[in-house]
């Protein structure tokens, strides 16, 4: 079997880490914006752009974590059947 344990899951883990880092930085700035930009314009802007922007990142990180778990299971199964 040429399937090497960890290769695909390691790459997915890298992708997940990148997304988490971006999301973390985005959270910091979005929270800062909520504190210092307090008018109705910010509410409209948040509703239109910031909320979907943050939600899709959060959703993607969650799904990527599930995917990573599944890929690790597949890799384990394959390695047990070499």
């Amino acid at each position: 079997m040429k399937v090497s344990k960890g290769t695909a899951s390691a790459k997915i883990e890298n992708s997940l880490t990148t997304l988490e880092e971006i999301f973390e930085q985005n959270c910091i700035i979005v929270n800062e914006a909520e504190r210092i930009w307090t008018d109705n314009l910010n509410k409209q802007f948040t509703r239109k752009y910031v909320t979907p922007f943050m939600e899709i990142q959060q959703k993607s990180i969650g799904e990527l974590k599930n995917l990573l778990f599944n890929i690790q299971s597949i890799e384990t199964m394959l390695n047990n059947n070499k």
Binding site: S15, I22, W37, Y49
Partner: protein, 244 residues
Amino acid sequence: MSDFKVKDILIFSKLEMRFDETDKTAPQALESGKEAIEELKRDIQVNLVETKQELASAQQDLIEAKAIADLDNNAGHSDTHAIQQSIQQLTSRLNSLQNALAQIDALLTKYNQLQGSFDYVLKECMPAKKELVLIENIAKKYLALHGDSNSFNYHQSSSIKYDQKQDDVDVREVGDTFHYTTKNNLNQMVLDELEGKLKEPGYTGNKISIDNISQSDFTLLEKNGYEISKIAPNEYSAFKELEK
């Protein structure tokens, strides 16, 4: 515009940078994840083909080993047994690979949907970058961060004295007070020119009231002897009485 409340306009460029950074980095990260799954799928497919070939070969070996054993009255029994074990292992591996391939296909379908949703939402959100630049420009004007002393103009008439509103400046003389409203930032030149005009012969007034000042002007105004008053939340004015 009176509802425009922002403590630091740098937040607009910070937000813009986060949208931009996410647009540049996140799709690439997701694509790398997909490539990893596709690579794993290709490995599995190759191994599946190899395993099928190995299994076919082992089954053929078993047939031949059985034929030899039959001819030679159970001679080569251990060979037959070893081949059967090998076939069992290969069959188990084949099942695992087929199972893994089915799971990978399902994961890839889900992943493609996720990637599609992500790209769609991100694309929908990207006009935010342009809007943030626009908002920042409006905020800069509103907070009077870009001063232009050349835009300072005022006139005088007899009855209501003067009431002029241009793009950048609004100056009125009411009674003995000059009311000055600026949309740009204050600077020393503006204050000097305003006070200089008030001291000119023919002007009877000796008070200056400046409206719509930003907090960034406080130091300059206080240095010039102005008294600052809060007239509403986030709205300030400055007042000074000159000796004539």
